[in-house]
């Protein structure tokens, strides 16, 4: 049984006028214990929405209209809010984007971890909780005695580590990291990636990494799901995505990444802009910008289904032949 399985997840947003705009459509993936999945896409592709829905933390205007989220076989969309609360943080935990600003500035870092431990009834006694907080900080590479400092005394990288420590406090099975390396210096990024890899190995964590940075994904993710306009474009193992991409978007996206080993080589851009939620193309969402399918009748009319063209390699494109 997979730790996390998502089937056909569809999410809408309601505008002020009550009209439903489709933000995510037909998202499907599975995550095994101890593996990591990279959820990749650019701004507006819906990856943040997907991520929030995994914890049922959508903003007020969001509505999950279809699909299942199976955590160890249990559909999280069918359980009560009360039951969901014991899933959050204990089973599935999250490190937010801009986590550096998510720490309470008027409380010590240690006390915030203690609060998490006590709130979720992991440890009751404050003394034991403090000790555990210290252990967690050491685990992420922060000397335990710095726990008594305030967030403003921590650097950006250290705050990120503190947030990871907090997310791991309840020993979750799944950790969702939302752009954990954006806004950090390159060297700190590398440190954080190394830390996440270490946590995965040490704790058997399953990791969902949401990012727009393909390089980070190549570095540490086993599987990759490329999203575009709220739909899955391609979903396969990391090796396949980077070395045998079949979806036109994936192909172009890879070409847009400068390779430091080949300085001066050609770089591609994808013309146009991602679709707006209130102006979605009727067929394939990538069609207006697609170098293969632009103007093709079937691409204009129909949303391509996600097809497994070879074992483990799923593509949603009308013009890709199955193997």
């Amino acid at each position: 049984m997979n730790t996390l399985e998502v089937h056909d997840l569809s999410i809408n947003y309601l505008t002020n006028e009550g009209i439903a705009l489709n933000a995510v459509d037909g998202l499907t993936f599975s995550l095994e214990q101890g593996r990591s999945l990279g959820l990749v896409g650019e701004s507006g592709c819906g990856k943040t929405t997907v991520m929030l829905s995994l914890m049922r933390l959508l903003p007020e205007a969001g509505r999950i209209v279809d699909g299942q989220i199976l955590f160890n076989g249990r559909d999280l969309l069918q359980i009560s809010e009360r039951d969901m609360q014991s899933v959050r943080w204990k089973d599935i935990s999250m490190v937010f984007q801009g986590a550096m600003n998510a720490l309470n500035p008027v409380r010590t870092v240690e006390s915030q971890i203690v609060e998490v431990l006590q709130l979720h009834n992991i440890i009751d006694s404050t003394r034991d909780a403090r000790k555990r907080a210290g252990e967690l900080l050491e685990l992420v590479g922060i000397p335990a005695k710095r726990g008594s400092q305030y967030p403003h005394q921590f650097s950006g990288g250290m705050k990120q580590r503190a947030m990871i420590a907090m997310a791991l406090a309840c020993n979750p099975q799944v950790l969702i990291a939302d752009e954990p390396t954006t806004a950090l210096d390159v060297m700190i990024q590398a440190q954080i990636i190394e830390l996440l890899e270490k946590m995965q190995r040490l704790l058997g964590l399953s990791l969902v990494l949401v990012t727009h940075d393909l390089g980070v994904v190549a570095e540490m993710c086993d599987d990759v799901l490329v999203m575009y306009g709220g739909t899955v474009a391609e979903y396969a193992s990391s090796d396949v995505i980077f070395n045998n991409p079949q979806h036109p978007y994936t192909q172009r996206l890879l070409k847009a990444f400068p390779d430091i080993a080949e300085p001066g080589s050609d770089l591609a851009s994808i013309p146009g802009n991602p679709p707006r939620l209130d102006n979605l193309p009727p067929g394939c969402r990538f069609e207006p910008r697609c170098h293969v399918g632009k103007g093709e009748p079937i691409c204009l009319k129909q949303l391509p289904p996600l097809v497994e063209i070879e074992p483990g390699h799923h593509v949603a494109c009308h013009l890709v032949k199955g193997v």
Partner: protein, 351 residues
């Protein structure tokens, strides 16, 4: 005879005082200073694209600000086309050369002349445009400020040319819009157009693509690169992303804590970095291919606070090959080739 470089930076220092609290004053604690730039020297030839690469605290943005005269150096000087930038930015140029037009102008006219020739592109396309101005107003404003004696038609032509050269064609489609109607990439093009409309010679691009989606970065960088060909503009490109620097720049200067630790032709520096810091940066730059896993040299700790610069070689606390000598000696530049310099005691001057 080699042409004089359009930009010459000589021993540039820039320090910012740390504001003292009342308690500090009472305790008479020593005055602290942020050493943003601690002795930078390099020059840029006309039409060249130079990358300034560094992490936070490296001083790369500060270099850009000083090069444009938006800040004044604490020590050292910057020469733009032979003129002292600090003086020029304040309108204080005095007559030096024979028949020198510039120094005879009034203070305000001197400053305007400078701004016409050196422009900037900013990092955050969502913050660098006035949300209350239309695109037309944004791009025409430099022309209005500089009062170039253009007729209304000429102004329109220039604005149109600037917008369309930046890929915003047809211009009429855009110039009645407001910034929030455009995407990040389009906004950045507007910023570039606003800089180009004055036909500058020097452009400082401060992390122009770091806030844009990956798939649009290439376009913006290609645009910048093309400016060299079409308008012979010299570009100073600041970034923390080595890979983008590798894409379109001629030379690269790697900065650490206010100093240039390595400078040389971009391809050479990326393929054969000599300074341990550069080597570390190159090794951890994410490569979009899981098969090409290379050994990552991850430095521990973080860039130290520029208030407390380490003694000797400022990189020694984090350097994997540092020795005792590195703790006391500030390394001088070692020439690898005529164009490639490194500031490291452990580098042997070869080739």
């Amino acid at each position: 005879m080699e042409k004089q470089p359009i930009l010459q930076i000589e021993d540039l220092y820039k320090q910012f005082p740390v504001t003292r609290t009342f308690v500090d004053r009472v305790k008479r604690s020593p005055k602290q200073v942020v050493h943003a730039l601690d002795g930078i020297s390099f020059s840029v030839a006309q039409g060249e694209i130079l990358a300034l690469v560094g992490e936070s605290g490296s001083g790369k943005t500060t270099v850009g600000m000083n090069v444009l005269g938006l800040q004044v150096p604490t020590k050292g000087y910057i020469l733009f086309d032979g003129y002292n930038m600090a003086d020029w930015a304040m309108g204080k140029l005095k007559s030096r050369k024979n028949g020198d037009e510039l120094s005879r102008l009034s203070k305000r006219k001197q400053i305007l002349a400078l701004r016409r020739r050196a422009q900037m592109v900013f990092q955050d396309p969502y913050e660098s445009l006035n949300p209350r101005q239309t695109i037309w107003e944004i791009v025409v404003e430099p022309l209005e400020i500089h009062d170039l004696g253009l007729s209304a038609d000429e102004k329109e032509a220039r604005v149109r040319a600037a917008l369309e050269d930046c890929g915003l064609a047809p211009a009429d489609h855009f110039w009645n819009r407001y910034p929030d109607e455009l995407s990040g990439g389009q906004r950045q093009r507007v910023v570039i157009a606003g800089a180009l409309v004055l036909e500058p010679e020097l452009l400082v691009a401060d992390e122009p693509v770091s806030m844009l989606d990956v798939s649009i970065r290439a376009d913006i960088l290609t645009l910048l690169q093309s400016l060299r060909k079409t308008r012979n503009i010299t570009i100073l490109y600041t970034t923390h992303d080595l890979a983008t620097a590798g894409y379109f720049t001629d030379r690269m200067a790697v900065m650490y804590l206010g100093r240039v630790v390595e400078i040389g032709p971009t391809a050479e520096v990326l393929k054969e970095p000599r300074h341990p810091y550069t080597q570390a940066l190159v090794s951890v730059a994410p490569v979009p291919n899981p098969r090409k896993k290379r050994k990552r040299m991850i430095l521990q700790g973080e860039v130290p606070n520029p208030i407390d610069v380490p003694s000797g070689c400022r990189f020694h606390p984090r350097c994997p090959i540092a020795t005792d000598e590195c703790k006391i000696t500030d390394p001088p530049y070692v020439k690898i080739t005529s164009k490639h310099k490194v500031a490291c005691l452990k580098t042997l001057s070869v080739d």
